[in-house]
Point group: C2
């Protein structure tokens, strides 16, 4: 257990929960990395759609950014309200299921959990992708690097929420500071130059327009830019990780995240227009990210450029962490309602939901392995999930206000209704525009997951129905007799003798069962049974065990033994039949190769095919005994 302690830290007592909680300073790195990293790819995604418009595209970025900022503001207000209404954690699942019913809640849960898994894979592979393109010799090691980063994130999150926040706050605030500085410098220069600053390093020239602007193109640019908002829901989901008073701390964290994100988005959009920066075709030679062009245009390619781009890359890679903070809480909520196995609701050694963390890591790892560390093709799959969850959550809040009523309710309801409309429209645009590129997969997977959750719940319900009993213990009349105890015997060696002795203390009806697998086996055990076993047993005051010989025409062991056991059970339908299975405990892995697995096999066969009367009494035998 010592290795675990080094890796994961000492176990935390349940009473230490409060000390693990955090405030806004750590809340931003723990819950905000996904949202903040969006600033790096949201504007780029919008500009990429505008690429065919050439220079005219850059002109359109300002109104599109303004529209995005409006939706972001609506989301902010409505999640601000959600935090107050659901201080126990108001994820889309909770809000949806409590206000709109089970199906809506499960739809939101499916959408969100898919999104969280995709986010981990995509963020890690994007971060590692940026690193290997900076250090080309690492290229062949892309997948191992991805998996290492994933493992590191997993371990950090298993160590607890607080540790994750402490570790990630440096890159988070470095990112905010660098990008803020670049935007401030750019803004100052733009103002000084009357709106037309001269770039330190000119961005690549925009290609000539190949098509004219259309409403559909603008809508697609808007919906692509909306990916900048994914991650905003994280805080409302994670309210319980904040220290007292949690609602206030959560709201401050949300405000900080949205304010930073809004400023970054506005600044990036403004400077792109001022400097004439557009997207460059991804995956082609000469590709340069929008942020790289922007920082170079504002401040040139000096040390600052490399520090800033380094912070962007690390935040991209670490944005996977938001999933690690929220996915386990979503799973916990589902497990508490019976839609997932109960392990997901169990607080682990460091007071986090370890099962959810490990599950997320395994699923994201599988995606990374399946796509060999290059998960670009997964990008169209997400966003749909996020906006479906946003919409569900907003609609749920509308229903919530209608139900709750009160002084602020009409006002709050309007805000949430506006939010629902905006995110719902965005959802439609995203789903339609990305349908063929992969969003259809998400639209198939979400209902499949809903079915899975329902199945698990049905199984758990059935189990509860079958096993529940609240009355006093019923023992039966007459009281049940001790079981018939069967002891498979071959040579009457010391292992079997221990089993026989034990059996005699448990029941007066003990039978040693001998399967005659080889015709040549010597027969003297039956002859000497009385003197070897029966007489000493009688002398000690026990009913002596009998010896039963079971023939085996086909040299099988298990078949005839199971048939005999079942026959005994059938002949004594009111009694338990206990089978003693002595087992060598294999202390070394190579013992498994060397030694017979008869005991293990017998246990499994009895469990699977024995029937409800059968009991397996497993007596370990240690080599040192």
């Amino acid at each position: 257990m010592s290795l675990w302690e080094i890796l994961l830290g000492r176990r935390l007592r349940s009473e230490e929960q409060e000390a693990q909680k955090i405030g806004p300073v750590l809340g931003v790195p723990v819950l905000g990395l996904d949202a903040l990293a969006s600033a790096a790819y949201g504007p780029e995604a919008a500009l990429a759609v505008l690429l065919p418009l050439g220079a005219a595209g850059t002109g359109l970025i300002a109104p599109i950014a303004a529209a995005i900022l409006v939706v972001l503001f609506l989301l902010y207000i409505s999640y601000y309200q959600t935090i107050g209404a659901y201080p126990g954690g108001g994820g889309a699942y909770t809000v949806g299921s409590q206000n709109l019913g089970e199906t809506a809640g499960l739809l939101a849960a499916s959408a969100l959990s898919l999104d969280y898994i995709l986010n981990v894979a995509v963020a890690i592979s994007a971060g590692v992708g940026a690193i290997v393109s900076a250090v080309p010799p690492l290229l062949p090691h892309t997948l191992p690097l991805c998996l290492t980063l994933l493992a590191a994130l997993t371990v950090v999150n298993l160590r607890g929420v607080r540790e994750a926040g402490m570790l990630f706050r440096v890159p988070t605030y470095a990112f905010v500071a660098c990008l803020g500085a670049a935007l401030a410098i750019g803004l100052a220069r733009t103002l000084a130059a009357g709106g037309h600053p001269r770039p330190v390093e000119p961005p690549p020239r925009l290609a000539a327009a190949t098509s004219a602007a259309s409403a559909w193109l603008v809508l697609r640019a808007f919906s692509s830019g909306c990916t900048a908002m994914t991650g905003v829901e994280a805080v409302s989901n994670g309210v319980p990780i904040f220290r007292e008073p949690p609602v206030r701390h959560a709201r401050r964290t949300l405000t900080a995240i949205v304010a930073i994100l809004g400023l970054l988005l506005a600044g990036i959009a403004g400077l792109c227009r001022a400097y004439g920066i557009g997207a460059t075709p991804a995956g082609q030679p000469g590709y340069q990210s929008v942020l790289s062009q922007l920082v170079a245009a504002v401040a040139g390619r000096g040390a600052f450029y490399y520090v800033a781009i380094g912070s962007v890359v690390s935040v991209l890679a670490l944005s996977a962490n938001t999933s690690f903070a929220d996915f386990p809480r979503l799973c916990r909520a589902l497990a508490l309602d019976g839609y997932l196995p109960p392990e997901f609701a169990h607080l682990g050694r460091r007071l986090v939901y370890s099962t959810g963390i490990v599950t997320l890591a395994v699923l994201a790892g599988a995606l990374l392995v399946a796509f060999d560390g290059i998960t670009e093709r997964l990008i169209p799959l997400f966003a749909v999930g996020a906006f479906l969850a946003f919409t569900m959550s907003q609609l749920g809040m509308v229903a919530h206000w209608r139900r709750v009523g009160g002084k602020h309710a009409p006002h709050a309801l309007v805000v949430n209704a506006l939010g629902a409309t905006a995110t719902g429209l965005t959802l439609v645009v995203v789903a339609v525009s990305k349908f063929a590129a992969g969003a259809w997969i998400t639209l198939l997977l979400i209902p499949a997951l809903v079915v899975l959750f329902r199945r698990v719940r049905a199984f758990n319900d059935r189990l509860d129905r079958l096993t529940e009993d609240r009355g006093p213990l019923e023992i039966g009349e007459p009281a049940p007799p001790p079981p018939i105890v069967l002891v498979p015997t071959r040579h009457l060696d010391r292992v079997e003798r221990k089993a026989l002795r034990l059996a005699m203390t448990l029941s007066p009806d003990v039978r040693a069962v001998r399967v005659r697998t080889q015709d040549v086996e010597p027969d003297h055990l039956a002859e000497h049974w009385d003197e070897l076993v029966a007489r000493p047993a009688r002398a000690a005051g026990f009913t002596p065990p009998t010896l039963v010989e079971v023939p085996s025409a086909y040299r099988e062991f298990f078949g005839p033994l199971l048939a005999y056991i079942r026959a005994i059970a059938r002949a004594n339908p009111k009694r338990h039949v206990a089978v003693v299975v002595p087992e060598f405990v294999q202390r070394r892995w190579y013992h498994y190769l060397v030694h017979s697995h008869r005991a293990t096999l017998l246990k499994h066969l009895l469990l699977l095919h024995g029937g409800p009367q059968i009991i397996i009494i497993n007596t370990p035998w240690y080599l040192r005994e």
Copy 2:
């Protein structure tokens, strides 16, 4: 079980053993395929070594073939004698260990078993290699084809010796007939042409000599040609598969195999010389096997050519079968002496040693997968094993005759001594000439295997020492009391109630143990214990179980439970502590995903860390209960 019946045939009763046995007609395909297939590659191997001599090489083939035939004849006589001396199966392991001691026997066993495994992989990949070079579109499917062929051989051999013989006799005798016919035609034409026949299709011209003959080159050619003898030992190893009288039938089979092999070798060597056929460089464009050149030269490339080459290819691929006939018998002999787990000595449902067959298939399959179905590089690894086993077996027979004595002994001893000298010399030449190409691996693996066998034996001996007991059952004074029975309890659901009821019938000392993993767990079970459990138990005449609450500061279940169980065991060192582990039997694979694995984990932890006082009582619970 119905699928097994279709695949493997009905189970055979032990009494049907005699009906499964075979005579020489099936003995040749079962045990002779390896030896006969050698005719296809032995001469080619010798000619390949002679390649640098150009046309002069073909002149040397006759004396080399004569030397090989002499060694073959010596081997024949000595194995003929071995069959008589060891009618129970006189493999190199038996002969070596009974006459020269354990180490010699194990050396022979290691050498032979390696050889058998390599033979399967190499024969199958050679056969499939020939097929895919004839049908190039199959080339990308080399590995699947190899594995399919391996699986088919495995199934046929699992169906029994007789079935294998019936199935393989057609290709075996077709091979003998085709090659015999080609040689007869060739011989007739050679005689008619006074020793210089005109080829129907002239073989490729031999390259000019690049070096002169040397004694070392001739020795290497001889040792390469000696691979033609591998497989000759198979009959002596498999005497028990022949029907009454087994010695006579085995000797006839051996005679038939050696006679056919000798004639083929002599004929091929003679015709190669007459037609001026040499090897072509393997793996280079224009490569043509010696047999292909020979058949084309004698009979042209008509229908006969394709039938003959087809039979050669099928015999090459099926020559793996000799390993399937002998490897399981070798393993059985080793298992009977404790050098392998006892399963290897167990006759399976079709009266063959199924464990050995499956083990051989798995190991050969692993080799095929590791080498992607192209096992050429493994060829230098074998032959060393065969000749080491030959030598051990001959030396063993020398010791046998010295010990046994009698009228024929001096004569027989000389034959075996000559055999030992010839095979020993061949072994040295093979090992030295192929050392760098891979034989060193064999020379390392053989002693490693010997060490492994000894380890297994030591483990089995220790187990026997520790568990053996021949006296009457010792029960102890005073007689042991029933165990303390612990029942892990959470909600007192029906599963736990069943466990409690059972526990009360087994012992008057039953304790329900409740681990408090969550601080929030409701407490009413302790309050109501008397009315829920104790009172009904008393009413039924049982000592009422007590409830023990075990705290868990770190929300763990297993740690505190195990600690409590160990404390109970320490406090009652003379008593058994039985833990009742109720377990849901998961009938569908997806139940495994959904349901908690607490029971399985608990059983494993108790087995591994419980200590000798612990007993696990596993009560299955079926969903339909």
